[in-house]
């Protein structure tokens, strides 16, 4: 909303007010609806002895006559004014109100003046005078400052730019009266950027005069530079729009516009022969005519009195596409000789659309680049941008520097931010945050005129799209943009934090928060003002910078104040506040667990606990938990023994395998918890660091899960993170990829590993953090882990520290070497997928080479080819043939060319991995216990499984059929065995589900082909690619029903 002229005038000194009146008059004369900065400029220029005119005269470029340049400036201003919309509705007598941008300029100059030391005492005097009278405290803007801030307006500086002025120069000239201007100017001159060009200074003054800024200008200059060279002086423009730049360049030369050329080659003549070349190459022009034309060129060069002739041969593409090879060759040689003969005075210029085309030509004429003395010039701008419409007044209207922090719902935002997370603050906190911003703003401006505005600050802040706000915001933007941004960011962070801590659960109840009308104005609260005043001194913002550690404490402090305040103001607020406040009491003590469940970690191993646990045992565990958490210091060694046994039994009960490891782990934990830690003698630190090495990834995880459950009471207390960055690509069907969080997980968006851990720990300090592949950790994670293990504090990337004293860190590395003899390596089983299975019956016996075969012993038709490649296990009525395994190489990254992977081995990669090893050694020296895991015995498990399947198969199909089990299926069953907590879960699955499948398929077989009775056929158990099984609980990652065909 524009400001009435009268209130704008109040802010100005008489002199400036007169200028404003003139501007208003200009606007009225043109019947414009608002008075803008442009009107002001027009008015200021029209006075014969105006400061602005004077400044312009001093700042103008010396290349043009002053009269001409002022004329150009006036033209530019009037053209810009013509573009403004005129109002029809207003009566001509009305004063057009002051536009937002102009009002912003006035306020900017006010602030500027206030900051200026020479006027400061004046300002204070004013303030004292005014404070007694009214709240109307203001600085009267002097004309000088008024002009300065008008010049800051991009529209204005654009207009001046069009006329060949630099608004910065004019500003300097305005600021400094004539006698000292020379000196001052050099002090304040903007930096020279074109230093890499030899002719910097000539170019700086050579502004494109009078109006349009030619996009090609820069390109032309570059061409000029090449032309001025001694050797390889013939530019070949390369790029999609090279031809249009070439045309523009030659046209400009033809009309004698050559300001962009270095002086020594000014006045270059152009001869364009591209048409002739084109005609000649397609055959419309005879060779003689072409030669004649070239002769003409040569004559012209020889007779040329100026510095020379430039021959435009056009688009080089024609040399590839058009014409017979003979004519092209002829032409090329002709041009080459031309270059040789009249070297000094002749230039060639041409264009080529793409590098590929150029390469084709070079393939034909390898010597071309040298013979023609070419210099490739990349052309990248594709369009001539002549309309200059990129500066409109509407743009300024929207210049709201920190408006983005306000929750203005736009269509785009709504469409893209459907996730809960994007809305970080609940509306309550948001409102408080906005209020604080407004208070802070108010404080920053209590002495400015803005307070005169009839509208309350809070309301304009909350409706940032309204026009008034734009005007007043611009003021702040110019004055303390950085400061306010920092303030707003700080406040925002603060409230996000508060909201996160207090109202975290509220986000889950949008129906409660939505729809409740909030009061827009908060009662004045001295405490709150105090907080923001603390923030609004500049030092405060600096302290809010993320890396500063003190800042964290400070925010903490502020949060506390605010929290108590939230409780105080409880009765004044609508019911939803009550909800929040009650939350406040409960949530501060009990951390939320929503994130941990989101990760799905808790459900990984969930299988119904069928065996009832002995009662006394449970009690003992609880005893342990209690003692572990609270009365640690009082624990005696007697306790330790008891504790260790309880822990060991609880873990062994849950895990089953890895007995030795469990023993070691329970010992370490009991020792650390009772204060006998080897690493840190003091009992203050109770964080425990374990390193699991060896193989059996699943076993490590099982133990970690069990540990989380036993020590911290729930599986949700486990956070598992895979540090191996190579594992980032997951397959939806893969069994093991579902198991842990890694980089690509959504919870990692925008965070580093340590950020994530720190965040989780701050929510819930009693956690078990499982870091898989610690050997693959990046350097930053390494550093912060090292620091954490030394100090007991984990610092995130913002420098905030989180205490880790109640957590257990388990790190795993997989450095062990596997025995080659195994048929089923851990590596292979880790690739298992959870697919649906299907049973097929076929009469042709041609098993896949990777499959396992169960052959009837008495079968005479043993295929030697099959058996030669397989390991044989005799088993009752069957011979089990397990395919021999080829040792698989480590996987290749398909993105990389092969030769590069080899090269990388011996280059820097070596040193990087070396430092990683060194770090790992250091790190593992500091952990409380290193536990080496035994490899999981896949082979004997596979044997057991196959035996069970054999029995099952015999029961259903009898003993004269062959069973083929696909490798994928076998690996899937093995993976399931590995993951399952119960040893006989697989046998149960075979006896029930697989058996049912066999029986069903046998029945179908009877129905369909009774004839086949007696003759042996092959039963196949195959995986159905792409159909994933859901884990239904009966057996991990195995189908609950097998398809039969």
């Amino acid at each position: 909303m524009p400001t009435p002229v009268s209130s704008a005038r109040q802010c100005l000194t008489d002199e400036a007010a007169r200028a404003l009146d003139d501007a208003v008059a200009v606007a009225r004369r043109r019947s414009h609806s608002q008075t803008t900065s442009l009107h002001a400029v027009s008015a200021l220029l029209s006075l014969p002895t105006s400061t602005l005119r004077d400044a312009c005269a001093r700042a103008r470029s010396s290349a043009y006559s002053p009269r001409l340049q002022f004329r150009a400036l006036e033209l530019c201003v009037s053209v810009s004014l013509d573009r403004l919309p005129s109002s029809k509705s207003k009566t001509p007598d009305d004063e057009p109100p002051v536009s937002n941008s102009l009002m912003a300029a006035i306020k900017r100059s006010q602030a500027n003046q206030r900051r200026h030391p020479e006027t400061f005492h004046l300002y204070q005097m004013h303030q004292q005078l005014n404070s007694s009278q009214s709240s109307l405290s203001c600085v009267k803007v002097e004309l000088k400052h008024f002009i300065l801030s008008i010049l800051d307006d991009p529209i204005v500086s654009r207009v001046f730019g069009d006329a060949g002025f630099r608004s910065t120069d004019i500003k300097v000239a305005v600021l400094h009266p004539p006698p000292v201007s020379g000196f001052q100017k050099s002090m304040r001159f903007p930096p020279l950027f074109l230093c890499s060009l030899p002719d910097t200074n000539t170019n700086l003054s050579g502004f494109n005069f009078p109006f349009a800024v030619d996009q090609g200008e820069e390109d032309f200059k570059r061409i000029g530079q090449i032309l001025a060279k001694k050797s390889s002086k013939n530019p070949l423009l390369i790029g999609v729009s090279a031809d249009s730049v070439l045309a523009g360049f030659t046209d400009a030369l033809k009309i004698g516009k050559n300001g962009f050329l270095p002086t020594e080659i000014e006045g270059l003549n152009v001869i364009t022969i591209d048409k002739e070349i084109c005609e000649f190459l397609v055959g419309n022009l005879s060779e003689d005519m072409m030669d004649l034309k070239l002769k003409e060129v040569r004559d012209k060069v020889e007779s040329c009195t100026g510095c020379g002739v430039i021959v435009n041969f056009g688009e080089l593409k024609l040399f590839v596409d058009g014409g017979s090879t003979g004519s092209v060759e002829h032409l090329v040689s002709q041009l080459s000789s031309l270059v040789q003969l009249c070297g000094g005075k002749l230039w060639l210029i041409g264009a080529v659309g793409s590098y590929e085309t150029y390469m084709k030509i070079l393939a034909k004429f390898p010597g071309l680049e040298k013979e023609w003395d070419l210099n490739l010039l990349p052309i990248t701008s594709s369009k001539l941008n002549t309309n200059g419409s990129h500066l409109k007044s509407s743009l300024m209207g929207s210049f709201v520097p920190f408006g983005g922090f306000f929750p203005v719902p736009t269509e785009l935002e709504n469409s893209s931010s459907n996730t809960d997370q994007s809305k970080t603050r609940c509306s309550l906190c948001n409102e408080k945050y906005e209020h604080e911003v407004s208070v802070a703003l108010k404080r920053g401006r209590t002495v400015s005129v803005a307070d005169q505005q009839s509208m309350g600050l809070t309301s304009w802040l909350q409706v940032p799209e309204s026009d008034t706000s734009k005007g007043s915001n611009v003021l702040e933007a110019k004055d303390h943009g950085g400061v306010f941004n920092a303030l707003v960011a700080g406040l925002q962070r603060k409230w996000n934090d508060i909201c996160h801590r207090l109202h975290h659960n509220q986000q889950n109840n949008p129906q409660i928060t939505a729809g409740v009308p909030f009061p827009r104005h908060f009662p004045a609260d001295p405490k709150r003002v105090e907080i923001s005043s603390k923030d609004s001194n500049q030092e405060g913002f600096r302290n809010l910078s993320p890396s500063d550690q003190r800042d964290y404490q400070k925010t903490q402090h502020i949060q506390l104040t605010v929290t108590s305040e939230a409780e105080n103001s409880l009765p004044q607020k609508p019911p939803v506040d009550f909800f929040a406040a009650t939350k406040l009491a409960s949530t501060t003590s009990s951390p939320t667990t929503s994130i941990t469940t989101d990760l799905g970690l808790g459900t990984i191993y969930v299988s119904p606990d069928l065996e009832p646990r002995p009662h006394d045992h449970k009690a003992r565990i609880q005893n342990f938990c209690g003692s572990a958490s609270a009365e640690v210091d009082e624990m005696s060694t007697k306790f330790y023994e008891k504790d260790y046994k309880a822990l060991y039994r609880a873990l062994a009960d849950k895990v089953g395998d890895q007995d030795g490891s469990i023993r070691a782990i329970s010992q370490t934990i009991s020792r650390c918890r009772t204060g006998n830690g080897i690493r840190h003698g003091s009992s203050h630190r109770r964080d425990i660091w374990l390193m699991f090495s060896g193989s059996d990834r699943v076993g490590k995880k099982k133990i970690s899960t069990a540990l989380a459950e036993v020590v911290f009471g729930s599986r949700e207390s486990l956070i598992a993170i895979d540090l191996n960055f190579e594992n980032q690509i997951r397959h939806p069907s893969s069994i093991f990829d579902r198991q842990s969080v890694n980089f690509c997980d959504l919870s990692f968006r925008g965070k580093t590993i340590t950020d994530f851990i720190a965040e989780e720990l701050s929510k819930k300090p009693r956690l078990l953090i499982l870091l898989e592949h610690i050997d693959k950790a990046d350097s930053v994670t390494q550093d912060s882990l090292s620091r954490a293990i030394r100090t007991g504090k984990l610092s995130d990337s913002r420098g905030r520290e989180t205490r880790i004293t109640d957590a257990i860190f388990v790190t795993t590395s997989s450095s062990s070497k596997e025995a080659d003899l195994l048929s089923y390596s851990e590596e292979r089983v880790l690739n298992a997928r959870a697919f649906q299975m299907r049973i097929l019956v076929e009469s042709t016996i041609e098993p896949r080479s990777s499959s396992i075969l169960l052959l009837p012993t008495q079968s005479t038709s043993r295929n030697p080819v099959i058996s030669s490649k397989r390991k044989l296990i005799e088993l009752g009525d069957f011979e089990i043939m397990v395919p021999a395994v080829k040792k698989s190489k480590s996987c290749f990254d398909l993105n990389l060319p092969v030769e590069e992977t080899e090269e990388s081995e011996n280059s820097e990669n070596g040193s990087v991995s070396e430092t990683k090893e060194v770090w790992l050694e250091e790190f593992s020296d500091q952990v409380d216990e290193k536990v080496v895991f035994d490899p999981f015995d896949f082979d004997s498990n596979a044997e057991t499984i196959l035996k069970d399947i054999g029995i099952c198969f015999q029961k259903s199909f009898g003993s004269n059929h062959t069973l083929e089990i696909e490798n994928e299926v076998m690996i899937q069953i093995l993976a399931s065995r590995w993951l399952s907590d119960r040893k006989d879960a697989i046998r149960d699955w075979i006896d029930s589900i697989l058996f049912t499948g066999f029986m069903e398929s046998k029945q179908k077989l009877r129905v369909e082909a009774d004839i086949e009775n007696g003759s042996s056929s092959m039963v196949k158990l195959v995986a159905v690619e792409g159909v994933n099984v859901e884990d239904d609980g009966s057996c991990v990652y195995l189908p609950s029903r097998i398809m039969v065909k």
Partner: protein
């Protein structure tokens, strides 16, 4: 002579390695965008950071609308920074606009660059006959109109799209830097970028390049990464990042650091 270019563009050199690593930010951000990436490299490299002249952290007076109307002026700045720092060879990591600048700089002074790592790079944003740049000309005009009409609303809409709405902190960070840019400069540079077409000159790049492309990028379709790989003149690799967003250094810093590390060590 006023403030030097190094001061004007806030050039910083941090870290203790032997080799130089230059991190160049894209449009709408400033060097602070690398703050999450920096810790990963400061122990192994001397990391050079600077602000493009169009960044919000640079005095807008230095932005000469006449000079910066093509990418070459930015290249001049970059090369001059390297020269005045006495850098004879460096790794160059450029995001978006800076990846274009890096390509052009490597054409002009190939000896300065041992490798270009281009994040969210595109030689041309507009679609063409047999080229899919991701934008139609009409769309671009609409975007420009939207920017002109209400910069604030545009930023509010664009930031979550570019970063990914699921990372509010990163969206805020991007919005902040985007807002710091004066709207007219932002618009002007956007026009410059959209008017640029590097397709013809890609073959002139002989420096090995690594193109890092996220799985979903609103500004750069995946096909562009393949186009770059095919047309850039040196040995090129493409690293696909299995995350979304045009600004992986904000939304997935740890992962990007890994990719950068991998690209740098090859």
């Amino acid at each position: 002579m006023g403030p030097s270019l190094l001061d004007a563009l806030n050039v910083r050199v941090v870290g203790s390695g032997k080799k130089f690593l230059l991190l160049a930010h894209g449009l709408g951000t400033d060097q602070s965008v690398w703050s999450r990436i920096l810790p990963y490299f400061r122990s192994h490299y001397k990391v050079i950071l600077y602000d493009l002249v169009c960044a919000g952290s640079v005095n807008p007076d230095y932005f000469d609308f006449r000079r910066y109307n093509s990418l070459d002026a930015y290249v001049d700045d970059l090369l001059q920074i390297l020269d005045s720092l006495g850098v004879d060879r460096c790794f160059y990591v450029g995001h978006s606009l800076s990846s274009m600048i890096g390509i052009l700089a490597a054409i002009r002074r190939p000896e300065l660059f041992s490798k270009l790592i281009l994040i969210g790079a595109s030689p041309r944003f507009l679609n063409d006959k047999d080229y899919h740049g991701g934008f139609e000309e009409g769309e671009i005009e609409k975007v420009f109109l939207a920017m002109e009409a209400n910069y604030e609303a545009w930023v509010n809409g664009f930031a979550p799209l570019a970063v990914g709405a699921d990372v509010p902190a990163a969206v805020r960070e991007f919005s902040r830097t985007l807002f710091n840019v004066r709207p007219d400069i932002s618009l002007f540079v956007s026009r410059t970028v959209f008017n640029s077409d590097l397709r013809g000159v890609l073959g002139l790049v002989k420096v090995p390049c690594c193109i890092i492309q996220t799985a979903k990028d609103v500004s750069v379709p995946t096909s562009v990464a393949m186009y770059l790989k095919e047309h850039l003149g040196g040995r090129n690799t493409v690293e696909m990042m299995n995350v979304e967003g045009h600004l992986p250094h904000l939304s997935a810093p740890a992962l990007l650091a890994h990719h950068l590390n991998r690209a740098l060590s090859r």
